[in-house]
Symmetry: C2
Subunit: 605 residues, 2 copies
């Protein structure tokens, strides 16, 4: 870790260097000291993870293995062998049991009170994926299980299925689907209207030469849906609607169409709940678009139906009704057609995308953070294709990459992530281990208030009493919005704290080459070398700003220092004192011994 | 320029390092010694360029200026002031005159025998662009002028116009068009069927949400077209058809749609002529797709017409006929609809794109090169957004960037380019100057046969008599296909030539830092440092592979060398001999003088 002292030159100057160019680079990079790991033993192609019974504990299901990892006391962790590859790992809060499914040629689902011991077996078809590679998210809502696994006996029956209380099957589907995530759209004031949303990719039936082969969608089903009448849609959804998710550059008709992951931030009012959807395009660029549940609902309740110009029957298909079995045939026949909405769901931001990046993100989790002030901040946790993790502040739709975490060896892929919002821990699963990543690494930002503020980490604030960058609370100073270190001196006269940077003295012989190394702890800063009123640009390597001195000569016997400039702040990182040893003088001294002997001999003669 | 000697370790070893990763980097970069420039005086928003009356001479038209630049004898160049911004600069071979148009509020076109002096004035409407910013390519074919300028009195009459012999106007058009280039599709065996092709961008009328707003197209008109009957299409094209150009990833329905530039390589048989089309997408990526004139012709003569399911009348619209004025009304009425072909023109390569790159190319010129062997090679000359130029070998649809030429200051944009194929000179126009770039810079590849061969420059070969890398001829050795230096030793025993690399001795004091610099003349090579059986990776800067030695100590008193490895060849670029001066020994010597004086004093006492 970086631990230098610096000179704070211009604590009260205004912001000089814009940072827009750097917004897609992480400001700082952390490589150690912020995570613990737990080995899964062996190599696992799929890892499911679930919040454990206590903080610091997680349930993990892998290939032929179930674990309850206790990161606080690793020796108290439990591991059991199970005869299946775990594909579903849920908590059924209504019965306080674990619900686990697996596959091993055949599928199995069971409720567990004790890890690895089935209390009761369930029919697994349509609940547990057939293949260990099939992504089939599922969700418990009040003891009802919504699942999306393929049916072994009827391969074209894609879709969401409900089990336990009122079993409902998906209707036979026209097109292939890939499921990404499920979420409750509720609870609403009128609970009758509560829905479950499925986020998915759908094979496009549009034969237009420029139509995307797969399109990202959201579909809805009503929680109260009991299926249709005896003749139409019996025990199948009557409220199933699908709408396309729009994420891209609308006026150019360019869209991101590969939906990779979804994270939902539930709000007090259901309609304010935000859906963070992570997309990729064919060029391996990433985009994140944010939708509100309210906006999705508006499309389902107001948009025209694709290919339906005639009058819409009453009740409108997709509305949740008390007894769906008594719906008029006209409504049921229309619902049978797998209704698509004409209008697309548009993201919150006018610009379309909240994040657009050449980085290849693969997973997204979202946290709501209470900082020092009255408001709340949104933090995105994004895994990258090569195992790095970005901690991103979202502010008014603008991203700021606060930190890049590198807990994994480069190239190790993240298979799954779980955010424990209460303890601010992120659990990261790879094929061989589970990592507990601490998101409260406030001390790593530096040992003074200005650096703590410039970090813009909503989790962290400057504690004036302990004089430390620490977990944000009402006692700490923070300025996530503007990152203006002037908050450090608020109420006081502007007296910047002065530190002395690290100074190194180097003895050099003339004619050689020499390099001075300056680390670059903040990626958004600009670095430069200085000596005797002269400024010189860095020679950049991956990690350092170097000053290369090719032909060392006596004129270079002086002081050199390296400065970082960020948001109008200039900090001296390193100071070098070069001492050029005179070669001629040295040679004279080398020969003075011989000279002395010669004089002695002369005297004795 | 790079001028080191090297040790050729493994002249006969097989290819070890694959080069696919490096194919989109230029192998070498040239910054000086290959170009001459001529200042245009002032800043010009548009520069037209035309082959001059002799080799080494070019006509140039700019803002209020006409020039005949003689690069062989710059003082013999001619410059005249003209009262217009030059927008058209053509040679009318049928009358051996210059045809020049300009705009300055009003447009003017005239024929010139002497630079700047109008011999005869022409009506300019539809020939000369109204605005200096309007790109409106034009073409002389046997004294007939095909032009694409907008009409000042009828803004929706976009399209190609013919002048001088049989004036033909474009029919009123439904949609906006932007013209990129014109080319003759001929001469054919049946000259009646000769056509002129226009390459253009067309505003898409398709309202599909994923349809590109603009689409790249090629259109045809027959050279013999004399317009329709008195009632239908009188003095307008009867043979005008348009087809979409496909360039992209077909199975994903992803296409490059912004057509930037076109270069045509005319073949002996007209249908083999190749059209090199340079595209860009919204993400600023570049693609080059190659089409044959024969393939374009097949689409125009065989494809269904978009939106026409009924029987096609005879003669089929778009066929060239002896007297178009007598065409049946049925044919003329169909032609009036601005016919679009149903099928798209597909590029030659199965992969769709010949070049796909994250580089932003802006201009393309293509040369056919006769090398040392019997076959011919294709070289693309591509200008980049920032003024660099890539010399690219095309081989079986695969690009290899032979060299990057940097004749301009970074960021200076290329406005126009002209290739003089006879002398292998590329003329590059910027807003302030015209450059003559020599494409025969063979000596820059190095002073031995292996390097000359590995350069893969079809213009260059190794002359065994003069022992130089020189302009390719039947006397030189070349292996553009495989770049295998084994051709250098063909017929002889494999005795690699040995050179001694540059050796530098450095005196260093312990405890300091030191860097060793190794230039990287070949971007496709891999570089590494070596000492005493140890290999160490480079610390890369933009230009060099560095070895950083942080704490100099006596153990480092040894030889270090830097190697480049390319295509199985390892070459030593630099050798350093580090001499670590012992500090303790030095101090002892420094104090030996004092010691000597002490002994003398003791003796005298």
């Amino acid at each position: 870790m970086f631990l230098f002292l610096w000179v704070l030159h211009t604590a009260c100057s205004s912001r000089v260097f814009g940072s827009t160019d750097f917004d897609y680079k992480a400001r700082v990079t952390l490589k150690e000291g912020f995570f613990r790991n737990y080995s899964l033993g062996g190599h696992h192609s799929r890892v499911e993870i679930l919040q454990g019974p206590e903080n610091g504990m997680v349930y993990v299901g892998a290939n032929f293995r179930l674990l309850l990892i206790n990161f606080e006391a690793p020796k108290k962790s439990k591991e059991v062998i199970w005869q299946h590859n775990v594909t579903v790992l849920l908590e059924d809060k209504s019965t306080d049991t674990l619900f686990v499914c697996g596959t091993n040629g055949t599928q199995i689902c069971c409720s567990m009170e004790t890890l690895g011991t089935c209390r009761s077996l369930h029919k697994a078809d349509g609940i547990a994926p057939i293949s260990v590679d099939e992504r089939a998210p599922s969700l418990f809502v009040d003891g009802e299980l919504y699942s999306t696994a393929g049916l072994s006996h009827n391969r074209n029956r894609f879709g969401i299925r409900r089990d336990f209380q009122n079993i409902i099957w998906p209707a036979p589907n026209k097109t292939e689907q890939r499921y990404i995530s499920l979420a409750l759209s509720g609870p609403r004031v009128d609970q009758l209207q509560d829905r479950v949303y499925t986020f998915l990719m759908e094979k496009n039936l549009d034969s237009h030469p420029e139509a995307s082969p797969w399109i990202p969608c959201v579909s809805q089903v009503c929680r109260v849906d009991h299926g249709g009448s005896k003749n139409i849609l019996q025990q199948s959804w009557t409220s199933h609607l699908t709408a396309r998710l729009s994420c891209g550059i609308r006026h150019k008709n360019v869209y991101f169409t590969e939906l990779l992951d979804v994270a939902v931030l539930h709000a007090e009012t259901w309609s304010d709940s935000r859906v963070y959807a992570l997309f990729r395009n064919i060029w391996n660029m990433s985009a994140i678009c944010v939708y509100t549940m309210g906006d999705i609902d508006k499309i389902f309740t107001n948009s025209a139906f694709k290919g339906h110009s005639e009058q819409i029957p009453t009740p409108r298909p997709g509305m949740c009704v008390n007894n769906s079995k008594t719906l008029p045939d006209k409504v049921l026949n229309m619902a049978k057609e797998q209704l698509q909405m004409e209008r697309w769901v548009q993201p919150v931001s006018d610009k379309g995308m909240m994040i657009f990046s050449h980085q290849q993100y693969t997973h997204i989790r979202v946290d709501q953070v209470k900082g020092s002030g009255p408001g709340e901040h949104t933090v995105l946790l994004l895994a990258l294709e090569d195992g790095r993790i970005h901690k991103v502040l979202e502010q008014k739709g603008q991203p700021f990459i606060v930190a890049e975490l590198q807990p994994l060896q480069p190239g190790v892929r993240v298979l799954n992530m779980l955010l424990q919002a209460t303890t601010k821990k992120l659990y990261v699963c790879t094929s061989t281990e589970v990592l507990e990543v601490d998101l409260l690494t406030c001390e790593s930002y530096g040992e003074n208030c200005e650096l703590c503020i410039q970090a813009r980490d909503p989790y962290c604030g400057w504690d004036p009493r302990s004089r430390k960058c620490t977990v944000a609370s009402s006692h700490t100073i923070q300025d996530v919005e503007n990152a203006s270190p002037s908050v450090c001196t608020k109420g006081k006269a502007c007296n910047s704290e002065k530190y002395i940077s690290q100074e190194i003295t180097l003895d050099l012989l003339p004619s050689g080459s020499c390099f001075l190394r300056c680390p670059m702890p903040w990626a958004h800063a600009e670095y430069s070398w200085h000596y005797q009123g002269t400024q010189q640009q860095c020679v950049y390597t991956e990690e350092d700003c170097l000053l290369l001195i090719d032909n060392v000569n006596p004129q270079q016997d002086r002081m050199y220092w390296c400065e970082a400039s960020e948001g109008g702040y200039r900090r001296t990182i390193m100071t070098y004192r070069l001492k050029i040893v005179n070669k001629a003088w040295r040679l004279a001294h080398q020969h003075s011994g011989i000279l002395c002997i010669l004089i002695l001999i002369a005297l004795f003669l």
